[in-house]
């Protein structure tokens, strides 16, 4: 594989994913749902990028496009130096060896009829990573140890494990082929509060142990995303509205949607709570079938001006890699 030496593992350029809406007997296309509409970001080796947004904002769709599970309508997905967006299925298979996915629901993402060991080992067989039987067994045992499970449990079936343990199996399966990139799609939201921290710590530990493992961490919980990510991208209705370092996210959010989203997350401390700014948004997220003109957030925005509906603001760097898409942010140059 023509792996380049630069430190970018994933470079998504102007990614668009439209799903057609069809009607009638002939399934004529009547409209498009613009699930992802012009998204661009870069992920460095060893970095964790958080992708947050409310349901329906397109964050999962991006994850699936990156993994080649959807064929994007337009745009490039440069992974390890090659654009995989238009790859045929056969070639994708080779690429996928280096990427993995951790699913949201550990109760439905494991085959109930497969033993834990064979779930974890299956990627090894598919990608022909381990040829000899003894290598295979050794690797599976090693994977169990890495995620903190007893390797003697490998003959058990998913229903014999708790939710947290099942998610550990999911993590072990993702790690099987030593991928460069793991897409974590809401990996902890189905778990109990006291178990979530165990999985977060496991993911952090894995990254610090293996040089160059990158995460694309998709979640709706801002506090979790901020905790685990180096940089965070905030999405609204198919577009990224702000990208910044996670440290900056809480201290200096610029986009009005980010500010509202942050203020909506309660902090478990009544003293801090009593002094926080609270922005309560009006209305609900509009349908991606019929998004408002211009900036799609303007109908709910508390700082909107008439110009906001005239054009779509693109992401602009307003200093120190802090990118934002809002004409009301000081330092942002309007281009329409």
């Amino acid at each position: 594989m023509n792996q380049k030496n630069d430190d970018t593992i994933l470079d998504v350029k102007d990614l668009k994913m439209y799903f057609p809406v069809t009607r009638g007997l002939l399934r004529r296309k009547v409209a498009d749902v613009k699930a992802v509409d012009g998204v661009a970001f870069k992920l460095k080796r060893g970095e964790t990028m958080g992708l947050v947004g409310e349901s329906g904002c397109g964050k999962t769709t991006i994850g699936r496009c990156v993994l080649g599970l959807y064929r994007p309508s337009a745009g490039e997905i440069v992974f390890n130096g090659q654009d995989i967006a238009g790859f045929p299925e056969k070639k994708l298979r080779d690429v996928r060896r280096n990427m993995a996915l951790i699913f949201q629901d550990p109760y439905s993402s494991l085959d109930p009829r497969q033993s834990a060991g064979s779930i974890v080992g299956e990627p090894l067989l598919i990608h022909k990573v381990t040829m000899a039987k003894s290598d295979y067994r050794e690797r599976v045992e090693q994977l169990f140890r890495i995620v903190g499970l007893d390797s003697s449990m490998s003959d058990r079936f998913p229903h014999e494990f708790s939710g947290g343990q099942r998610q550990r199996i999911g993590v072990a399966r993702a790690l099987a082929c030593s991928p460069h990139l793991i897409v974590c799609d809401e990996p902890i939201s189905a778990l109990d509060v006291s178990i979530q921290a165990q999985i977060i710590n496991l993911l952090e530990e894995l990254q610090s142990k293996s040089a160059g493992l990158s995460y694309l961490f998709i979640a709706h919980d801002l506090s979790v995303v901020r905790h685990i990510s180096d940089r965070v991208a905030v999405m609204y209705l198919g577009r990224i509205v702000e990208i910044c370092k996670s440290r900056v996210l809480y201290e200096n959010p610029l986009h009005p949607y980010t500010r509202a989203l942050l203020s909506a997350v309660p902090i478990a401390d009544p003293v801090v709570e009593s002094t926080r700014e609270r922005i309560i948004l009006k209305g609900e997220v509009p349908s991606p079938l019929n998004p408002p003109p211009g900036c799609s957030f303007h109908p709910r925005c508390f700082v909107a001006i008439p110009e906001c509906s005239q054009g779509v603001p693109g992401l602009q760097d307003v200093g120190e890699g802090h990118e934002v898409a809002c004409i009301r942010v000081p330092g942002y140059k309007r281009t329409f």
Partner: protein, 334 residues
């Protein structure tokens, strides 16, 4: 402040094939007039079951096996679950909002039919008056164009809007107590904030007490004046919100606060997970249920049964033998 509701030693159990599950094992709490109380715990800790027991909505194989629920000087558990006396309390004086707005509305009836039903039954309103009041209530909870949307069906509404309908329904008979069981868990954060703010305004306006049942410590920190923390069917810590968050005393509460990431945390903060798993509630030992996961445990914990709630400071109660004001011995070893 006058006391509205007092629950004493409530025991609710489920007889299953593999044994008796005590979902609530001696739960006691009270609710004052016009107060917002938070009931916090993880899934399966019995927080919802305790509230359903107060409403007598426990169905077989569940059974309320003991305790009393004193409301208006009467023990509600003396009433037959389906009798007229209980029915005159349920929904009218104590109302409940359920977690899943998607499934708790009847899909084949219009919003109007479901909203007016309670008004006609409990408030003895005429159909016309009930409809007017329902439109008014829908406006109050922030449903736009209420007079035309009242004839819509639940599937016409988004999740947030359905939960608004549920809140309107809960408040429709001016209840004394509104129990909100995970009212916003299934919703997005911005919708969650909208609804919780609106609920707080509503309970102020209707002079209702609100019980928020949730697993989200942030929500109770923001809204509740007093909180109860539940673990394995029992209340393990109770007190004023500011006291508990400033100085949590039960090992479980201490652990919970350390294992959730905070939005305002310093960079590089490590989460300290609570090791192990919540216990299986079948055939529980008499000792503390948190014992296997506890980092403060002392010898006494293994020998004596789980202690009762004991005051540590004024209104602040915990159910624990150990001295949690000092650091656990384990952290010294590391």
């Amino acid at each position: 402040m006058t006391e509205l509701l007092r629950v004493n030693g409530l025991v609710t159990q489920f007889n299953t094939e593999s044994g008796v599950v005590k979902a609530c094992d001696g739960v006691s709490y009270y609710i004052n007039e016009q107060e917002i109380v938070g009931l916090v715990g993880e899934s399966g800790c019995g927080k919802s079951v305790s509230q359903l027991s107060v409403m007598q909505l426990i169905s077989a194989p569940g059974k309320i096996a003991g305790g009393e629920v004193i409301f208006d000087g009467q023990n509600l558990l003396d009433y037959q679950a389906n009798g007229p006396q209980m029915r005159s309390v349920r929904g009218a004086k104590i109302a409940m909002i359920f977690q899943e707005p998607m499934t708790s509305l009847n899909p084949v009836l219009t919003i109007g039919q479901q909203l007016t039903e309670m008004l006609v039954i409990h408030m003895k309103m005429s159909a016309d008056a009930a409809r007017k009041r329902a439109i008014e209530l829908m406006g109050l909870v922030g449903i736009p164009a209420a007079d035309s949307r009242i004839d819509d069906y639940p599937h016409h509404f988004s999740g947030g809007m359905r939960q608004r309908v549920m809140i309107a329904m809960g408040l429709s008979c001016n209840p004394k107590i509104l129990i909100a069981d995970e009212p916003t868990t299934a919703l997005d954060v911005t919708t969650q904030a909208q609804l919780l703010e609106m609920m707080r305004d509503m309970v102020e306006r209707f002079r209702t007490s609100l019980v928020i049942v949730t697993h989200n410590l942030g929500v109770v920190a923001r809204y509740a004046q007093r909180i109860y923390i539940m673990y394995a069917g029992r209340i393990v810590e109770s007190g004023m919100t500011k006291d508990i968050f400033a100085k949590p005393r039960h090992p479980y509460t201490i652990g919970l606060l350390k294992c959730i990431p905070r939005l305002d945390e310093e960079e590089g903060t490590k989460l300290v997970p609570i090791e192990g798993l919540p216990p299986n509630l079948i055939n529980m030992p008499a000792t503390c249920a948190f014992l296997p996961r506890c980092s403060y445990k002392i010898e006494k914990c293994y020998k004596e049964p789980w202690p009762e709630l004991t005051p540590v400071n004024g209104d602040h109660f915990i159910r624990c033998y150990a001295n949690t004001e000092v650091k656990p011995s384990e952290s010294k070893k590391r």
